[in-house]
């Protein structure tokens, strides 16, 4: 009879790594999304070009390859990363590229009349963006950001391939040690699902909180 309690401990450790990756990756993704998304709306061609290149490159190449590049190729040019750093970097940059388009689309969805009100009230470009456009656009972004965060959570499993002990990695360890496939993989399936549900709920409650008083104006 297998001593499951010890193995569950292993899987819970993996869950912590997955959560850590998801949180840190999401923070980086969010930063990249705003940088690149706003960059695509810049007045300056060079800024738009850099933002577009970043988005197209990271959407157009596999996250798997990006991770391997970060972990195995960057050291060759002198940039040594821990597995966690490489994982956060690849996940954040990859998901950030998708989310950048969400930022751009949401900002553009705010009507021209809001921009005109900003000009008529003599707000500067950045003031109008910061106080008028982005707060409204953020509400439009949130549901899709929720999707992006769940995508990121699921994509964290690729880090097991660079020997980072996340959920998927630990499930394989358990399988190798016990010979049992069903129990570890069913367990992590449920854990991934619960984590995704938590993200969903979190985003939805944030959405509700921010949308208070805005009835009838949501895009």
């Amino acid at each position: 009879m297998t001593q499951w309690s010890g193995y569950f401990g292993l899987i819970l450790q993996g869950a912590l790594v997955t959560i850590e990756l998801t949180l840190m990756g999401s923070v980086l993704a969010l930063i990249m999304a705003f940088l690149a998304g706003m960059g695509r709306l810049s007045r300056f061609l060079i800024v738009r070009a850099i933002a577009t290149a970043y988005i197209e490159f990271f959407r157009g190449t596999s996250i798997f390859v990006q991770l391997f590049f970060a972990y195995f190729v960057l050291p060759l040019v002198g940039l040594e990363l821990t597995p966690l750093q490489a994982g956060v970097l690849a996940l954040g940059l990859n998901v950030g590229a998708y989310a950048a388009e969400v930022v751009r689309g949401a900002v553009q969805s705010i009507g021209r009349e809001q921009h005109e009100a900003c000009i008529a009230l003599n707000l500067g470009r950045w003031q109008g963006m910061r106080h008028v456009i982005l707060p409204q656009a953020f509400l439009v972004m949130l549901p899709t950001f929720g999707n992006n965060a769940i995508e990121l959570l699921k994509a964290t499993s690729v880090v097991s391939l660079i020997s980072l002990a996340d959920l998927t990695f630990q499930a394989q360890v358990v399988r190798a040690q016990t010979g049992n496939t069903m129990v570890p993989f069913t367990t992590i399936l449920v854990i991934y699902f619960i984590l995704a549900l938590l993200i969903s709920w979190g985003v939805r409650s944030l959405e509700r909180r921010l949308a208070r008083g805005l009835d009838g104006v949501r895009v």
């Binding site: 809001q114 008529a120 003599n122 003031q127 106080h131 008028v132 707060p135």
Partner: protein, 263 residues
């Protein structure tokens, strides 16, 4: 009044949207404190000139001066250069605008709508901005809704808040772009009453694009009739509404009266 300098001087400006020439060598002058009504068929350019004065549209040619200073040009060493953003921002301080569709900020409460611009653009402290905002909201009869969100207000209430918001920056010139056109008929009066108060209690120069001919008649010092990007006829309200000289003015007014507007 004839000896004073005009506060707005528009000199031969033109503006096209694609192939459509919406303003065609338009010139006009407005004196300080003057109340002007701009009337005419849609597409005649009357809204466009307001939008140009608010720098929401750029001109293709001509010059505009506000208080003797170029709006779209800067004088540098005797040369006229295109205005940069800083010049425009400084010129915009003189001008405020109220829109047909209110354009309130839906995510901000009534009072925050009014205090936002003074705090950001003039560095007014929150307490002072709110005190001033409450005075203005009181003047437009909206003080009791200061904490409400725009979505909770009627069209007439939204427009009164929008007027207070524009007033908070203390512009010398106020532009009203069909401010009652989007309102249900029973809500028009509450907004017009606010305009009357502004007229009586402030010395702002006011330009009003409107289809409310009765109001234009009573309110304006001078009426400009626009058609096809030009001012076809101008004069005292009585002259324009009772004794229009131009055929196009007569035809327009006849159509308006047939549509049930009071003159």
């Amino acid at each position: 009044m004839s000896t004073a300098a005009p506060i707005i001087k528009v000199d031969a400006i033109s503006k096209s949207f694609g192939a459509f020439k919406v303003l065609d060598g338009l010139s006009m002058q407005v004196m300080p404190r003057e109340k002007l009504a701009l009337i005419g068929p849609s597409g005649s350019g009357k809204t466009t000139i307001l939008r140009i004065l608010m720098t929401l549209e750029r001109i293709d040619g001509g010059h505009i001066q506000i208080e003797g200073e170029h709006l779209y040009h800067m004088e540098r060493n005797g040369q006229l250069l295109p205005a940069d953003e800083r010049h425009l921002a400084r010129m915009r301080q003189k001008i405020g605008m109220v829109f047909q569709l209110f354009n309130l900020f839906p995510h901000k409460s009534v009072i925050d709508n009014v205090t936002l611009a003074p705090m950001l653009t003039k560095g007014v402290a929150r307490a002072a901005a709110e005190k001033r905002a409450m005075e203005l909201l009181d003047m437009v009869g909206m003080a009791d809704k200061a904490k409400a969100m725009p979505a909770q207000l009627s069209g007439g209430q939204k427009q009164r808040v929008a007027i207070a918001r524009a007033l908070a920056l203390q512009p010398k010139i106020m532009l009203f772009d069909e401010v009652t056109s989007a309102l249900d008929p029973e809500l028009v009066e509450e907004v017009l009453n606010v305009l009357w108060r502004l007229c009586a209690e402030t010395d702002m120069t006011m330009l009003l694009v409107t289809h409310e001919m009765g109001f234009a008649h009573d309110f304006a010092d001078r009426v400009l009739f626009f058609d096809r990007g030009r001012i076809v006829e101008e004069g005292k309200p009585d002259e324009i509404f009772r004794h229009p000289k131009q055929e196009r003015t007569q035809a327009f007014l006849k159509k308006i009266i047939a549509a049930g507007h009071r003159v």
